[in-house]
Assembly symmetry: C2
């Protein structure tokens, strides 16, 4: 039982501190913080189990502010819990402070960056999934959502999944303060509209007055006492609660209150209560899977196999070596070949159905708990989760994404299924790694390297079977490249990767018969890129390059090469071959030809460029 008088005072303190920090910053979201003060005061004082001195204690609960703009409230809680000083709290939004405008993991108690609405809850589902199915620990996941963000589809992917996975360790509080940024939300104070949808997904939903600490307390107790389904507490609140100038008022979003002194007085003045937050039960230890020594699969030069298949085979083997590797897939595991991992390690495979945002968010949630996720679907459909990859980077998350069915070479299914922008978009994720193998042995090596690589690591795989080019013992470091052909008399450098590398090999052979020597570079690592090898080629072939890619012309292999050669000291003559016209259906060979990226077009471009 909570001490109601104390908690009411604590809630007022959280409000006052939210006003103080945003006033000091000259910006921020105090009113969005004030609405959830009782929800968070009750949680902090009565239900959260967290050791702020040991943020990595595996038994700790997880608290995620999906409404990241309520950061002043979160920081006020940290102050009340003694994690940060009042002084540090007041550095809110200042350069050099870790008390940022929206929470990020620069603070050790923050699991993920939030602020892009609709992201925090799906990540919470991932953490809860890890708790149930991987760690097998009793920690709880608490997520604070705003009502505005209930309009995001990703929120409903999360509701759907959490119930499907019986995540009774997950409790969501929706702070229904009725007001968005520019006016009323779609559903205003219609709590039932949210509750019914949650119930239809299989959740327990509890509608309460979010300012009544007793109701909040009883709802949380009911949530923690409920088995096999998650609970959402739908709380009717007032934005700016407690300060007449902003209480339930429009045009009070995202700015400090006009008169903080008056507002603080209205709330009963500054307080400096401290909360002894209950620690988790001692000795929590996450489950560990036993490693097994399974050799990387090997393929013989001259046989044919797709890189997507090699990905599946390799991941299954690597799952033996690394018992912390987990795999997720968006209902296409028989296409991405994640199903091979699933068969080998069923306890570490997660079917995410056709919900790419939830898939990526679950991966982020699992890495919060130090698992190493690989998440796969068609490259085209990872575009659906692009914001989540962006937010994963802001979250300093280590996740691995694998997009299959890249480019026009998938053939008959047509353009909606062709990943043609993935290299560009994943290169433009901060701190990312972008890989594009052409060969199964190379794929296997790179998948193994991905396990140890931080950040958002993307691999692009190809649908069709292609010849094995490399032996199983060859090394393919991330950031490297592979010169497949070179001689003293090279006239043009061809840079390719994936499917186009095989076309380039054919072209180079034809050209050799015409006494045109091609230096051929396999650019399997687009980011980081092997600038030294490209620069050497620039000198060797007097700046003559043909780049060829099964991708739109922007942001892929061609621009990667140009970027690496921005100051190489040689006059560049770069011909970029890429997909310039919207593809249609056809056979892979027809479409490669139509796009002008097959062996014939490569050879023609080289002939035109050769001195």
């Amino acid at each position: 039982m909570i001490d109601q008088d104390f908690v009411k005072e604590l809630a007022q303190q959280l409000r006052v501190d939210s006003i103080r920090s945003s006033a000091a910053a000259g910006s921020g979201h105090p009113t969005s913080s004030m609405s959830a003060a009782e929800l968070m005061a009750v949680l902090l004082a009565g239900h959260l189990h967290y050791d702020f001195d040991e943020p990595h204690n595996p038994g700790n609960d997880h608290l995620i502010f999906s409404k990241g703009h309520a950061s002043p409230l979160l920081y006020s809680m940290y102050k009340a819990a003694g994690a940060i000083s009042d002084e540090e709290m007041l550095t809110f939004r200042k350069l050099g402070s870790r008390i940022e405008g929206h929470p990020t993991p620069l603070l050790p108690w923050v699991d993920v960056a939030t602020g892009s609405l609709g992201f925090g809850l799906p990540v919470g589902v991932g953490v809860a999934l890890a708790g149930k199915r991987l760690d097998q620990l009793d920690y709880r996941v608490w997520v604070l959502c705003g009502d505005s963000e209930m309009a995001e589809g990703s929120i409903w992917e999360a509701f759907d999944h959490a119930a499907h996975e019986n995540l009774d360790n997950l409790t969501v509080m929706v702070d229904v303060n009725r007001l968005g940024q520019r006016g009323e939300t779609m559903h205003g104070w219609d709590l039932t509209s949210y509750a019914q949808r949650a119930e239809a997904c299989g959740w327990q939903a509890i509608e309460i007055d979010g300012h009544d600490v007793d109701e909040v307390d009883r709802a949380i107790a009911q949530a923690t006492g409920t088995q096999s389904r998650p609970t959402v507490i739908v709380a009717r609140t007032h934005k700016g609660k407690g300060v007449k100038a902003v209480d339930d008022k429009e045009n009070a979003h995202g700015k400090p209150v006009d008169d903080p002194t008056e507002a603080i007085a209205e709330l009963g003045g500054e307080r400096h209560l401290s909360v002894k937050v209950a620690p988790p039960a001692p000795g929590a230890k996450a489950r560990q899977f036993a490693p097994s020594t399974v050799a990387l699969p090997q393929w013989d030069v001259g046989t044919k196999v797709s890189t997507r298949r090699a990905y599946g085979d390799a991941l299954a083997a690597i799952g033996g070596e690394h018992p912390d590797v987990v795999a997720l897939d968006a209902e296409v595991s028989n296409s991405t070949y994640a199903e091979i991992f699933k068969k080998a390690h069923p306890e570490r495979f997660f079917e995410m159905f056709i919900a790419e945002q939830q898939m990526v968010a679950a991966a982020v949630g699992m890495q919060v708990r130090h698992w190493r996720p690989f998440a796969s679907t068609f490259a085209a459909f990872l575009t659906r989760a692009y914001d989540f990859a962006r937010m994963a980077a802001v979250s300093r998350a280590n996740i691995r994404l694998v997009g299959s069915h890249a480019g026009v070479s998938i053939g008959q299914d047509g353009p909606s299924q062709m990943g043609l922008e993935d290299l560009a978009s994943f290169r433009a994720v901060h701190g990312s790694t972008v890989l594009y193998p052409s060969d199964p042995n190379q794929t296997a090596r790179l998948v193994r390297a991905m396990v140890e690589t931080d950040g958002v690591v993307y691999m692009r795989t190809t649908r069709g079977d292609t010849p094995v080019l490399y032996g199983p013992d060859e090394e393919f470091p991330i950031g490297g490249s592979r010169v497949l052909r070179s001689s003293e008399s090279d006239q043009v450098t061809v840079v390719a990767a994936g499917i186009t590398l095989h076309e380039a090999v054919k072209a180079a052979e034809v050209l050799a018969g015409e006494d045109i020597n091609v230096r051929l570079i396999d650019l399997y690592s687009l980011k980081p890129v092997d600038a030294a090898t490209l620069a050497e080629a620039a000198r060797a072939t007097d700046g003559r390059f043909v780049t060829v890619e099964d991708h739109w012309p922007e942001g892929g292999i061609g621009e990667t090469v140009l970027s690496a050669l921005a100051d190489c000291g040689v006059v560049l003559r770069v011909t970029k071959l890429a997909v310039e016209v919207m593809p249609t259906s056809g056979t892979p060979d027809e479409l490669l030809g139509l796009a002008g990226i097959d062996a014939e077009h490569i050879a023609a471009a080289v002939r035109k460029l050769a001195p």
Copy 2:
């Protein structure tokens, strides 16, 4: 009343034809087509109003296959309706055929490309919105969804919106065949799980046996007779219905049936029934708004105003000139300044709440009906709808997207709110246009040009007020650039746009005092890009360039410049200044400095590069 015997035969024909076309193609999704045969047979014969000879008749209904992989069924319907021949139907998935693997608007009866699940329904909501609030016509929108795609959050954004907007002209049929690509869906045949969620959103939901033509007919009649809310028909079906080898069987997704002859015999053989589809009532005429002559707003050189504000002012004026311009915003219209358009043209403004996917899809739906949509939110949050921009391009849609709050220069809110990948990602959309103005008069000119530009047209705007550089009568054609400073003795070319242009102006002034002459190019149009002006600058400054952008280093201004100069005949010495480190909170000036993209860093880079 439908002729039930005829419709049953028609349904069998649609199945047989789906088997025939996929057998001829050697690929495709016949089983996903067969489950919905009765749903579509009843619709086609009894309820659809469509003139296949006049696909642009404004009175026509709209039929969208959100489950685009059921394309064999759609093409079978077109054949039955006499729109295509049997022979053309059998060109399915062949090069040169418009009968593509997934539907695209190469066919005049297809409104939008589908095949990325979760896209078609939100577009249908957009068309229905256009019908109710813009066209004010009685056409109906019919959407066929698969049950697998109900896991996509975008579907629930659509459910939420359609009810909120009382779209009783929208009917959705969910083909609950229980089986996804690799196994059972999350909810199997639990029709109620879908129905309850829809009801909680405010829809009428009708659960039926999807193979009982009478039940289908009555459900559709009930839908069309219902006022002020949309209807979803949740239909229990069998995937592969009617052919024992595949009926409700796993591992039968996305491939032709093994023995088509046997399967066709089992279904009673080939048929060539034709359906006289009811045309719409004659004389339908879409509402037109009256134009008004409002001059473009003008700003005086020397004053300061943000480009986001100029966007809002310009769009409001242009909404007068062009009465077919409409605006949508994702609950941040007081930040993007779309609210200025809203005030001027309330009937043509659409509040999409925080649902970016639904916003972009609604824009696509509105342009199906020839409206010219501008959709705005923070640039960072457009990443949430990246797949929808991709699918808009496959749909040959003409939409305009505007992302505000670009880059670190937004300041205190921190990295989750900073659009830093938008130039890269939108450049990599096929046929896109990418604009980045630095000045309000320039912004206004470009907004006007956007109205007449086809494809996915993206504009990036800046949060902060910046000096007016250009007079109101200057021209800024798309594909152009603006040389702000040049002389015979230029030593280094600086290329910038948006916020960094203002930093570059300051740097150039400082450098001029040091006798270092800078050629300064405002690259307001990144795609198409003014390659000629860049090449001329390359010659003038001996390949010496400093590019500077408030964007990650990949895919933005720097790589655009390098790409344009891939074969310019000069040794390039390009220094790229971009955001290399994850930003934090701080003032705009502090963050520009920390990122190394302010005047001081530009000047330093130029000094280092100058001969």
